[in-house]
């Protein structure tokens, strides 16, 4: 397998070319913008939170294969999870991108493991997740919770 193939695994390129949950979400309860100023990548994340559960998750944005695939994979992964579970997943994802072995609950997200070796691309992989954290932070604050 070439370096490129090991980095851009089939699942990443599939999600890049045919992203899941792409587009605006009707009845979103939270809309959060994320930006990566050094490269100009932008992402808008739409969440519909019902009783502390992410019933609707969608994104719009422009960016590289890594950032778009990461966003697409994330929307699949956090849908129908509780806020708590989504934040746990976010922590696990970031630990993997920092070079830790992927936690089992990451599932398909572990396809992005190779980014840990590419420091220049870490922000691409984490943009969707930092945007999610910002949105959930806002939603928790609003619910009077917080952890």
């Amino acid at each position: 397998m070439s370096f490129l193939e090991s980095l851009y695994k089939d699942v990443i390129l599939e999600h890049y070319k045919r992203p899941h949950n792409r587009g605006a979400l009707d009845e979103a309860t939270y809309v959060q913008e994320g930006i990566n100023p050094s490269c100009g990548d932008e992402l808008t994340l739409y969440l519909r939170v019902e009783d502390g559960v992410l019933r609707g998750v969608a994104f719009e944005g422009e960016g590289c294969a890594i950032s778009q695939a990461s966003a697409s994979l994330m929307t699949d992964a956090v849908k129908d999870r509780s806020i708590e579970q989504a934040l746990d997943l976010s922590r696990a994802f970031r630990a993997m991108i920092r070079g830790k072995p992927p936690a089992p609950e990451l599932g398909e997200l572990s396809a992005l493991q190779g980014i840990a070796r590419l420091h220049a691309r870490v922000k691409c992989a984490t943009l969707a997740w930092t945007t999610l954290d910002a949105a959930l932070g806002a939603s928790e604050a609003e619910a009077g919770g917080g952890s």
Binding site: L4, L7, Y8, C39, G40, G63, C64, A65, C124
Partner: protein, 417 residues
């Protein structure tokens, strides 16, 4: 050199021996450094000049009566003379050392603009400016209510001089644009723009970040009023740049930063300021860096700036010849003459960052992103793009390796379309 695919007046293979970094490998491949428009590599002569200065002569400048301080001051002022000579400036007093082009442009906007522009005054800029020639003007727009007028591009992606002439009006006080675009590679007809600006009583500010490293610069022939450059893009070290300004303009400008060195007399209540150029050089300047920049200028002068420009042009012609024939690859910027050694492009369906990662895997360093010219990305309809840029050490073999890698990258990602 019968196997050469470009006719160049200089021999990059010989020059490369002066650049040790070009011997290294990246990801198991010999490095192909095509990011000189972001920052050039440094020849031994520059690094050694700085080391010799530090090992033999360093002290603070303009401050002491002792021998080392005098030697350091002499070296620093000799560097100023060298830069003045490189720019064909009439006199070295009108060369101010700054950190880089960005700081030089901020100095112009803050000092000259702050003293001369009032609400409703107009500044004419192109849509292809680097953020360094946009954001400082935005400050003044917000603070003063100056008006920014933007000039678009022609069909072949040069600054539209007819539109520029039309944009200059009664309230125009400044025209500010690049010598060479860091994205399009287009070289502006600075002299014509200067004539248009002056006919309206406006001054011309030239962002020379790409011009100074790659083109012969004669500020008198260009007839500009300000010319800003960065040392690190022209074989010199980071941390030093220069602003050349017409001496009479500089004389009338208030200080930019306050501190040591820029004063005439200081009391507890007030201070008076030094003459030019010291008035604009508060604090201990980047002395070793200025010495390094002088060595870089000496290196470029020995090679000859006409030869550097011709070499860049020959490489870009060759690169465009190969790239323009490729399906699925879009190359921006004008064709033909007045085109510097910059190739900004996109591969259909592949983001520029992915292109850069794919090329890096083969040891090829290119830039990707918005190139600090986000508004231009909007004009081109490409918020991100990939950019290869050439310099005097770039060979035709490297252009081939680059184009071959672009083809492989296109095909790799096309398999998933």
């Amino acid at each position: 050199m019968l196997h050469w695919r470009v006719m160049s007046p200089l021999d990059p293979r010989a020059l490369r021996r002066d650049f040790p970094i070009l011997e290294r490998t990246v990801n198991g491949h010999p490095l192909v450094y095509l990011d000189s428009a972001a920052s050039s590599q440094k020849p031994r002569q520059v690094v050694e000049a700085m080391a010799a200065y530090y090992y033999g002569h360093h002290a603070n400048v303009h401050r002491g009566a002792h021998t080392l301080s005098v030697e350091a001051t002499d070296a620093y002022e000799a560097a100023r003379e060298r830069v003045a000579g490189f720019l064909h400036a009439p006199d070295a007093r009108s060369v101010v050392f700054t950190r880089n082009t960005t700081e030089a442009l901020n100095l112009i906007v803050s000092s000259w603009g702050g003293a001369n522009l009032v609400e409703g005054d107009e500044v004419v800029l192109s849509v292809a400016e680097h953020h360094a020639n946009l954001v400082p003007w935005h400050f003044l727009k917000r603070e003063r209510g100056i008006v920014l007028r933007y000039v678009g591009l022609t069909d072949d992606q040069r600054v539209d001089l007819d539109a520029l002439a039309a944009a200059i009006g009664e309230r125009t006080r400044v025209v500010a644009t690049f010598h060479m675009s860091n994205v399009l590679g287009a070289v502006n007809q600075v002299r014509r723009i200067a004539d248009l600006a002056h006919a309206a009583g406006a001054v011309l500010v030239v962002d020379g970040a790409q011009g100074a490293p790659h083109l012969p610069v004669d500020v008198q022939a260009l007839a500009c009023d300000f010319y800003a450059l960065s040392g690190h893009k022209m074989l010199g070290p980071t941390g030093v740049g220069a602003l050349w300004a017409r001496a009479d303009l500089l004389e009338g400008m208030p200080p930019f930063l306050g501190g040591g060195e820029m004063i005439r007399r200081v009391t507890l209540d007030d201070s008076t300021y030094a003459g030019i150029p010291a008035r604009f050089e508060a604090g201990t300047p980047p002395v070793a860096e200025a010495v390094g920049l002088a060595a870089a200028v000496a290196y470029l002068e020995a090679v000859g700036m006409e030869a550097v420009a011709d070499h860049d042009a020959a490489l870009v012609r060759y690169a465009l010849e190969r790239l323009d024939g490729l399906s699925g690859v879009t190359v921006y910027g004008p064709r033909g003459p007045d085109r510097g050694g910059i190739v900004t492009f996109n591969i259909d369906g592949v983001h520029a960052h992915d292109v850069a990662t794919a090329l890096d895997a083969e040891g090829i360093a290119i830039r990707s992103g918005h190139h600090c010219a986000q508004p231009l990305g909007g004009v081109l309809g490409a918020s991100a793009s990939a950019r290869a840029s050439f310099y005097l050490y770039t060979t035709d073999d490297e252009v081939d390796r680059f184009v071959d890698a672009v083809i492989r990258t296109r095909d790799f990602f096309a398999a998933y379309a």
